[in-house]
Symmetry: C2
Subunit: 140 residues, 2 copies
């Protein structure tokens, strides 16, 4: 699968690389700056392709990233998703959602309901350096 973009690239801003997975912050979602991804390093498509130990490791990382996101951002909700229709290489989206964001309460893939408020986006973005650092520290 040399054409898989998650086999050839980190997939975003790399915050931590472990033997089995890596944590990146997405840089392709301007309306959602607080968007992280846990990418399984091996090219497997589905959660159920992992062994029991791997699956537990994967969900533990997702939950730990979520905990740090919640502590730093106090979001209205965290959205988790492993879709992979276009890139069938296991990766988890972790998205901090807020009542005023461009799609709330719809999923971010639905049509936008409003323009994101620039001040809210700026306030959120200002928290990312400390959050990125806390996430990196969590796994070191």
């Amino acid at each position: 699968m040399s054409a898989c973009p998650l086999c050839t690239d980190d997939g975003g801003l790399l915050l931590h690389r472990a033997p089995n997975w890596r944590l990146i912050r997405a840089t392709d979602t301007p309306a959602y700056p607080a968007f992280y991804r846990v990418v399984w390093n091996a090219h497997v498509a589905e959660l159920s392709d992992l062994s029991d130990a791997e699956r537990h490791e994967c969900v533990d990382v997702v939950a730990q990233v979520e905990r740090v996101m919640r502590a730093h951002l106090s979001p209205t909700k965290i959205n988790l998703a492993a879709l992979g229709n276009m890139v069938p290489h296991l990766h988890w989206h972790l998205i901090a959602r807020f009542e005023g964001d461009s799609h709330f309460p719809a999923p971010i893939w639905a049509p936008a309901q409003r323009e994101p408020a620039p001040d809210a986006l700026a306030a959120l973005s200002s928290k990312l350096p400390a959050l990125d650092q806390a996430l990196a520290n969590t796994f070191h």
Copy 2:
């Protein structure tokens, strides 16, 4: 939280109820008949609200449901999501996706790209009784 619909109702066709979770088939997604949900019984909002043991139990169930769905349907992809913006009570969507479905390769929450093919929907629906039974048997 007496207003929470997942505290007052099963949330779909109940296939199995365990002490901590239940498995239902969604009956509110006509374009996606092979749509299951694992609902955590307790009213918690986020994955990271679970204990380690609960989280592992939850992900093990999700993976097992996914395995049975794959065995019966051979989908192009399984989509997993825990969103909860409207109903902040932990529930996992498990959706069998196929190349010809109404949104593929976009998420099901995006605008539809085509009408679902009636024959494909009928063929998929015809597999649900056996799949429902296999899922119920898996957890008994």
